[in-house]
Symmetry: C2
Subunit: 350 residues, 2 copies
């Protein structure tokens, strides 16, 4: 299988290198090909998502992504900013389903701002729709009839978009504790009302899953008050962006959490892009301080979802847990290990 | 001055009654007139915001609002649901600025899911725009060209809408520690880019205020990680809905937090609607269990913002704090006082 490595900006290259070492050690016969993305690609090739990079991503069986973004590109026009690479890859590859597990790792009870007993109960997955919503609706600037500047973005979902992500939500819940919470703002938004209607229709195919609904403002409260109440959350692109970052911070360790962005299954295989949920952290880039675990765990998700090697995914996850239990800590976890030392600690437990 | 009392549904009447007792005790020559709103109004008059109620709200100098909403009305068509009363009042009265202070009260360190040292540092105000954004843009159902059901809602802001709420944000920050954080999603949304542009333009009039910008997903993380970093946050209607609920839960005591929804100052007076941030809590309605403090503190905000009696607002706030310090606790705070006993405890310290 061909793996596209897109390290990107900031700490991206450092953490992707460690994940690569872990994959190499497993000797799975993977082929790696690397391409520039984000600010790094804009600087060298004039575009954050060059055609050559997109081509590689399309050919690859899976993509391991680092991070993009740098304040240096804030002044660049929107369509050329690093973030556009992320949005472009999602849209072009039809990666509509974003899975973001959030749980507290053993030994990291002190890393969360939540009380240990509250944080310790976190073990959830957010299933976020990734190619629709207000992210991709018609948008622009225009003049109002009074001659004022106005900015606008159309929020919209059609029933097919909702149904396919709802299915991912139900399937995910079924593989866990069978509890699915759909988050929307149906008391105000028509988009959300359609969302809720279609989720309820889809539920007919999953009688074994217990479905509940929650308004997004309440969900943001409940994720602080009692995150342990959630198992699987399914929600739209915008709400998912906010809630998944919030949930990951509740779990305390932004340097520990992986994510998968998946397309439709084609011939039993799912194309996916795998990346840590953290950003490019320009402030610590190049210093060997970044925690590589989120990227290593993203590689594990890749083995599970795109390469049909759940056994190897389990092995990596167990090695990360063992390293933590053994006391391995990078700076973000209050320790002193460098990025590659943390990689070593995981490799030693593979 | 004429105060419109709109108790609404669930625990609304109980908590408004206690706030009224506190106002009465201050002997300020206020006249009170009550009107039905929400589900209560729908049941008796066929509409959640009857004309007679809207008329009273328009004539009044200020409105003290309880809460609306009840799952019994979930099946009712959207335009007649209890929540429409809230949206209707905001829009009809042009109450564009929602102020939501969130702070941890002394003695309530244990009420938050956050660690005491994190929660204890919370002392912020969220300034939320309340009459624009995706809440009030064109919305509906339609068919796509493929014949699919689609729901849509237009997100939009024009420069006047942004400037006036930005001013409220800067003024609020100026009256506090001089730090304003504007929250948007300018890396994805054109509405947010216009928002950011106009906030930056407005900053020219407030050289004494330190302005920063944050993406909404990061803001949701930071409100968990280190909420003490914020003083004043200004944001749009949708993001404000989510973040203000999240922030209030971080402060631990949803039963303690008031809010003000303000219009433009006319002749030095600001028309405002004052309400607790909690909802109608149908599960405990009529049992005398609700905490009246959020509504009592909303009455204090009313005195400060609409009735030019900051002195009396201070008195109420001091009485609430003293009651807490004295150990007064309703069930939500882990105590056993009833709604009216908590009212008594505050009255005793006025
Ligand atoms: C970089 C940005 C466009 C992106 C998003 O908003 O989706 C990021 O926040 C994420 O969650 O992956
Ligand atoms: C009831 C609902 C329409 C309302 C809103 O979303 O604004 C509420 O959540 C609030 O924050 O006041």
């Amino acid at each position: 299988p061909l793996i596209a490595l897109l390290p990107g900006d900031g700490i991206g290259p450092e953490v992707v290198a460690e994940a690569r070492r872990v994959l190499d050690a497993l000797d799975l016969g993977l082929t790696f090909e690397e391409a520039p993305v984000g600010g790094a690609a804009y600087e060298t090739l004039g575009h954050p998502l060059p055609i050559s990079t997109l081509d590689l991503a399309e050919q690859a069986d899976a993509i391991l992504f680092g991070a993009v973004g740098d304040a240096r590109f804030d002044g660049v026009e929107r369509s050329l900013r690093p973030e556009q690479a992320v949005l472009g890859l999602r849209k072009e590859l039809n990666l509509f389903a974003n899975l973001r597990p959030a749980k507290l790792f053993p030994g990291l009870e002190d890393a969360s701002a939540l009380r240990p007993e509250v944080a310790g109960a976190i073990d959830l997955v957010i299933v976020r729709e990734l190619t629709g919503d207000v992210y991709f609706g018609e948008k622009g600037r225009r003049e109002t009839i009074e001659g004022l500047r106005e900015g606008y973005d159309l929020m919209a979902y059609d029933e097919i978009e909702v149904r396919r992500i709802a299915r991912v939500g139900f399937e995910t819940a079924r593989g866990r504790t069978g509890k699915l919470c759909s988050v929307d703002k149906a008391n105000v938004l028509e988009t959300s009302q359609l969302w809720r209607d279609v989720v309820i229709e889809t539920a007919a195919d999953y009688p074994d899953v217990a479905l509940t609904h929650m308004y997004v403002d309440n969900a943001a409260m409940q994720l602080v008050r009692n995150p342990g109440q959630f198992d699987t959350i399914v929600t739209g692109n915008l709400f998912g962006d906010i809630l998944s970052d919030q949930a990951s911070m509740c779990a305390g360790s932004i340097g520990m959490l992986p994510s998968a962005s998946l397309g439709e299954a084609i011939g039993g295989r799912v194309k996916g892009l795998y990346e840590p949920i953290h950003g490019s952290a320009p402030d610590i880039a190049g210093q060997g301080k970044a925690n590589p675990c989120a990227t290593i765990l993203s590689a594990a998700m890749m083995l599970r979802h795109s390469l049909d090697r759940a056994d190897m995914a389990d092995r990596i996850e167990a090695a990360v847990t063992a390293a933590l239990v053994g006391g391995a800590r990078t700076a973000d976890l209050g320790g002193a290990l460098s990025t590659s030392q943390m990689g070593d600690a995981v490799l030693a437990r593979l």
